[in-house]
Amino acid sequence: MTNATVHMEGQLHAPAHGAVATAAVHAKGQQHPIKLYLVVWGWLFVLSTCSYLVDYFGLQGYLRWSLILLFMMLKAGLIVAVFMHMAWERLALAYAILLPPIAVLVFVSIMVLESEYTHLLRVLFFATPS
């Protein structure tokens, strides 16, 4: 990006429209073909439709959960990698941002155990038979 800034200094007085966008200007700064974005956009629609259909057809059990989580992760991956340009960022940044949320999974597993324990106690001592 900074390079692009340097290159662009000379062109400031030209009208800032598409015509100015020479190869030198968009050599840097997350320039990707529009088609790539449209393809990702399309995939996000397809994956969202799939998630919705899982509910629409009333799938249950492990099948429902694997599909929902799979579509969720694929969508999240596409958004982060392409729309947020993480695929092209420096690895030092990518890992600094992507690794910490994985620690949340530890928190998730602790809370799953905790809530199952709480549920068990509630069933044993408080739940009124209905």
Partner: protein, 240 residues
């Protein structure tokens, strides 16, 4: 300070790639994210902190839902809408999802046109993004109104576990607030882009560096993050 170190020819020095690159970047006595500008790095770090906040909300919702002995309302039915005499499950949320994804698509293209310094298209695409965002918030207002009319409160609801209301208002409310803030900032930045503030160094927020359209990308990071959070809310709150 915010500038990447450049050589005399204006080129960044070559950096190591892969794990060696990570080690070299983090071990040096310079900034760790070498060719990533401060603005972008700080937005990413803010988004990481926001990730933790949303994680805590979704986690407490998960804990409440898994530990309650009272039946949890079925979101598929709660968020169904009546179209031509037929109850269509979860349709409102599905439409909101498609709208938010579309806003992400237009935002990604706005970033691209920003770097090409195509001011009109950048601003137009940002305004379309803002319009999608506003539509989303509008539909959320409709959804809230409908549920409140049906008697859902943060402390109870007509269909079962009272925590449903608390989780619903907290999670969607916090997300809706993010969308609203995003819409306001999109409009503000789009106005600056259209007016050419980034070319003439007009004084004001984010406009101090000439020909520097990275703020559009940074704005985009925030916006895509809002969409990203919705992906998780959609899966974990509405489809569970």
């Amino acid at each position: 300070m915010a500038e990447t170190v450049l050589t005399h020819s204006g080129q960044s020095p070559a950096r190591l790639e892969g794990w060696r690159g990570i080690a070299a970047d983090w071990a040096s006595d310079q900034r760790a994210f070498k060719n990533v500008s401060w603005g972008k790095a700080m937005m990413w770090i803010f988004l990481l902190s926001d990730t933790f906040i949303f994680s805590c909300f979704l986690l407490s919702y998960m804990t409440a839902r898994m530990s309650t002995t009272v039946p949890w309302p079925n979101p598929s039915e709660v968020f169904a809408l009546n179209f031509a005499g037929k109850q269509i499950p979860l349709i409102l949320i599905a439409i909101m999802t498609f709208i938010l994804i579309s806003s992400s698509g237009t935002m990604a293209m706005a970033v691209n046109f920003g770097y090409r310094r195509d001011r009109v298209r950048t601003a137009a695409l940002m305004l379309v993004t803002a319009a999608f965002g506003a539509t989303f918030v509008g539909m959320q207002a409709f959804e809230w109104t409908k549920l409140i009319m049906e008697g859902v409160r943060p402390w109870g609801n007509p269909w079962g576990a009272p925590q449903f209301g608390a989780s619903f208002f907290m999670i969607t409310g916090f997300h809706g607030t993010h969308v609203t803030i995003g819409v306001i900032f999109l409009i503000a930045i789009a106005r600056k882009v259209l007016r050419g503030d980034f070319d003439v160094e007009r004084r004001g927020f984010f406009t101090s560096r000439k020909g520097y359209y990275e703020i559009v990308e940074i704005m985009g990071l925030y916006w895509h993050f809002v969409d990203l959070v919705w992906v998780f809310i959609f899966a974990l709150f509405y489809l569970w």
